[in-house]
């Protein structure tokens, strides 16, 4: 038997070791925290800092000077800013519900095995793998009035020639359609994965209880799918808030500013007008909008209590 007392019994010996024990997790976490700070937090803090400055992109454009909240107040007076925000939110609220509808319908339809089902499911995913810039370019050529295949098809059916990207409303519709085409399979992918994770016993129990297809869908499938649906919506919203390259190559924000989404206008501010401070203020604004979306969706609908309640009910 050792004559030494347990360390915890000794107030002198115990204190340093206790501190070390307390410190140890932080020391182990420190590298990760540092990396997270450098990669995630610092750019946001720096962007916030830049947003309080009149910061020309080129040194030739002028000198940097502190303006406080000047960029933010200037934005609120800029009609183009509000127009771009309206277009961006419209883009999200039109495109994402349609993508959800298509994705969920396809997931329900293909959530069964049949000959070639795996190939069909794989092929459906193809548009997601398209580079956004390539997708924009392809759609730009497809919608070209004279030699684009879409107009050729419409004309052969007797419809009039449409200048898709030359008219403000059809151009806006075109960028939304392009996004739906490219991204609905993303919804399908997530929702199909969610559907396959639903325990079969629940479905069978509901069926034994006499529930038909629609009843099972409304009372079992959809409630259990809520977390997956919300995750898919949240991911798509975050992605749609940053949409840029495909719209840039399709319309460059035109005609006029009919498709000048928030992201495109931010790019114009920074690289066209040389106003990095203003662009940073827009970026911070976008960050706040993203956080609001995330909090609304995650905190209110994805808390464990609510989910359990929904699943139980």
């Amino acid at each position: 038997m050792s004559s030494r007392k347990p360390v915890t019994d000794s107030p002198r010996a115990g204190r340093p070791e206790g501190k070390a024990r307390t410190r140890a997790p932080f020391l182990f976490l420190a590298p990760a925290i540092l990396i997270v700070f450098a990669v995630l937090i610092f750019p946001i803090i720096f962007s916030l800092f830049v947003s309080t400055w009149d910061w020309p992109l080129s040194e030739g454009a002028g000198i940097r000077r502190f303006v406080g909240l000047g960029n933010y107040t200037a934005l609120t007076r800029d009609p183009e800013f509000w127009n771009s925000l309206k277009l961006q939110l419209g883009f999200i609220f039109i495109a994402i519900p349609i993508e959800l509808l298509f994705g969920f319908s396809a997931a329900l339809l293909l959530n069964r095995e049949f000959f070639g089902s795996r190939i069909v499911r794989s092929l459906l995913l193809l548009p997601v793998f398209f580079l956004p810039i390539l997708s924009g370019m392809t759609w730009r050529f497809m919608l070209q009035p004279r030699y684009g295949p879409l107009n050729a098809l419409l004309i052969s059916l007797g419809a009039p020639e449409i200048t898709w990207l030359g008219n403000p409303s059809t151009a806006y519709a075109a960028i939304i359609i392009q996004d739906i085409w490219r991204m609905w399979p993303f919804m399908f992918m997530l929702l199909y994965a969610g559907l396959t994770a639903i325990p079969q016993e629940l479905m069978e129990a509901a069926e034994i209880d006499g529930a038909g297809y629609w009843r099972r869908l409304g009372s079992v499938t959809i409630p259990l799918m809520i977390p997956t649906i919300l995750t898919a919506i949240l991911l798509r919203i975050i992605d749609a808030l940053r949409v840029f390259s495909e719209v840039y190559v399709m319309t460059e924000g035109g005609p006029g500013s009919a498709t000048m989404l928030f992201s495109l206008y931010t790019q114009r501010q920074a690289f066209g007008y040389q106003k990095v401070g203003m662009a940073s203020a827009m970026a911070i604004f976008l960050l706040i909008v993203s956080i609001v979306f995330a909090l609304t969706l995650v905190r209110r609908n994805m808390s464990l209590d609510v989910l359990e309640e929904k699943a139980g009910g």
């Binding site: 040194e59 990207l165 005609p255 006029g256």
Partner: protein, 441 residues
């Protein structure tokens, strides 16, 4: 024995020798690296053609040329980010003439460029006078204009020489079909071909990027007798005569009515496709000479050899040819200024400029453009020379990108009928004034 020799040497001497060798090695490495220059090119046929000959320059001078070639908007962004007063990623940058005011303070004036060691320093007077102005800012020549880009008019030769069309046109309009000399003739002829289904477009507009649309607007406004912005009292001032500007916009709207389908968004790619690849094609439109090589390439164009080149048709106030030239500039912060200058002297030399003309591109040297050897084989050269008599610049000031966006937005709304031209012009005036006011002018 060496062993003893070394052992007997004092330690300090050995250290000194080692350090000397190290220093010499460093100097050698520095000398070798000084012979590399980083160059930022804009992407079009002209610099791409030049790139074929760069190995010859490298062999002659021992200077290695690292090239980055980007689309013009990206050249602008890269220059903005990468060039400052005390540091630069490039030893030579190409600057579009509209951006000279923005970058002038960061570039070495041409009179301070070192004389060449292998190639003779180029006399700026070899540059066509209409182009030399491009690199002038605040009374100094900031770099050297390197290409001869300004509006040249293209008209389909096969159409205007067709006897049936000639007879039919004369019967209808009472004058001869030919290269349009005035706006009205352009509209008449374009309408004749378009309404008879002979062409897909009687006129090829440009409705692409903001700088290009701004060029079209300035072309029309100048042709109707009004400037847009002038430097007055050391600041850019809006001087546009609204009534004349609206007339110019209204006339362009008429031209849009005979333009190919999709004209509302036609940029260079679509214009080239409509003019060169469409079996019916387009009757007439402007071209930047830098693009002539593609239009005259039989592998890419159905109308190669069938184009007449001329100066632009005249509006009520006369002829104007919008300029869009690039200058090459050495950043003040470059550590390889001499090598960069050597490269420009080679590029702007008569030998290379003449070879570039031979390859259907358009340098800025007068002697290469007027070389009699090319008079027959390069019919566009005479047209370029003619257009240079009417050269007109787009307004240049630091905030021009914002004004270009305003003009593009309302110009297109006006010419496509989304907004009455009068209202569109008023919007342009109001919002441009706002930009100038906010900029402190």
């Amino acid at each position: 024995m060496i062993y003893f020799h070394w052992e007997n040497k004092p330690k300090e001497a050995l250290m000194k020798k080692t350090l000397t060798i190290l220093a010499l090695a460093l100097v050698l490495v520095a000398m070798v690296s000084a012979q590399t220059i980083n160059v930022l090119f804009w992407d079009d046929a002209y610099p791409r053609t030049l790139m074929e000959r760069i190995p010859e320059f490298e062999k002659a001078t021992g200077i290695k040329v690292n090239i980055e070639i980007l689309q013009p908007p990206q050249v602008f962004t890269k220059t903005s980010v990468s060039v400052s007063k005390d540091r630069t990623d490039y030893d030579l940058v190409c600057v579009d003439e509209g951006n000279i005011p923005l970058f002038a303070s960061l570039m070495l004036p041409y009179d301070q460029w070192a004389p060449g060691k292998v190639f003779k320093k180029v006399d700026p007077n070899t540059v066509t006078p209409a182009m030399l102005d491009v690199a002038q800012w605040d009374g100094k020549l900031i770099g050297l204009p390197i290409n001869g880009n300004l509006y040249v008019w293209m008209t389909r030769k096969d159409l205007i020489e067709n006897p049936k069309y000639k007879a039919d046109f004369k019967a209808k309009y009472g004058y001869d079909l030919g290269v349009p000399q005035t706006f009205q003739q352009m509209l008449d002829m374009g309408t004749f071909f378009y309404s008879n289904g002979i062409v897909s477009g009687g006129f090829g507009p440009f409705n692409g990027g903001p700088a290009g649309v701004f060029g079209e607007a300035i072309f029309m406004w100048e042709s109707y007798g009004t400037h847009f912005i002038e430097w007055k009292g050391g600041k850019p001032t809006l001087v546009v005569d609204k009534a004349k500007a609206v007339q110019g916009m209204e006339f362009y709207k008429k031209l849009m009515a005979i333009a190919p389908k999709g004209a509302e968004t036609m940029a260079h790619v679509e214009r080239q496709a409509a003019f060169c690849a469409d079996p019916k094609g387009v009757f007439t439109q402007f071209i930047w000479p830098a693009q002539i090589a593609s239009y005259e390439d039989p592998d890419k164009s159905l109308v190669a050899g069938k184009i007449v080149y001329s100066a632009p048709p005249a509006g009520p106030a006369g002829r104007f040819a919008i300029r869009g030239t690039w200058a090459v500039n050495i950043p003040l912060a470059s550590k390889n200024k001499e090598a960069a200058a050597e490269f420009v002297y080679w590029w702007a030399s008569k030998e290379i400029a003449t070879w570039l003309v031979e390859k259907n591109t358009v340098p800025a040297r007068t002697d290469a453009l007027t070389d009699p050897r090319f008079a027959k084989s390069k019919p566009w050269l005479a047209a370029i020379a003619d257009s240079m008599k009417y050269a007109a610049a787009r307004p240049r000031f630091k905030e021009v990108a914002q004004v270009q966006d305003i003009v593009k937005k309302y110009w297109i709304m006006g010419i496509t009928g989304q907004m009455p031209c009068d209202e569109a012009m008023q919007k342009i005036i109001d919002e441009t004034n706002d930009v100038l006011k906010k900029a402190g002018y």
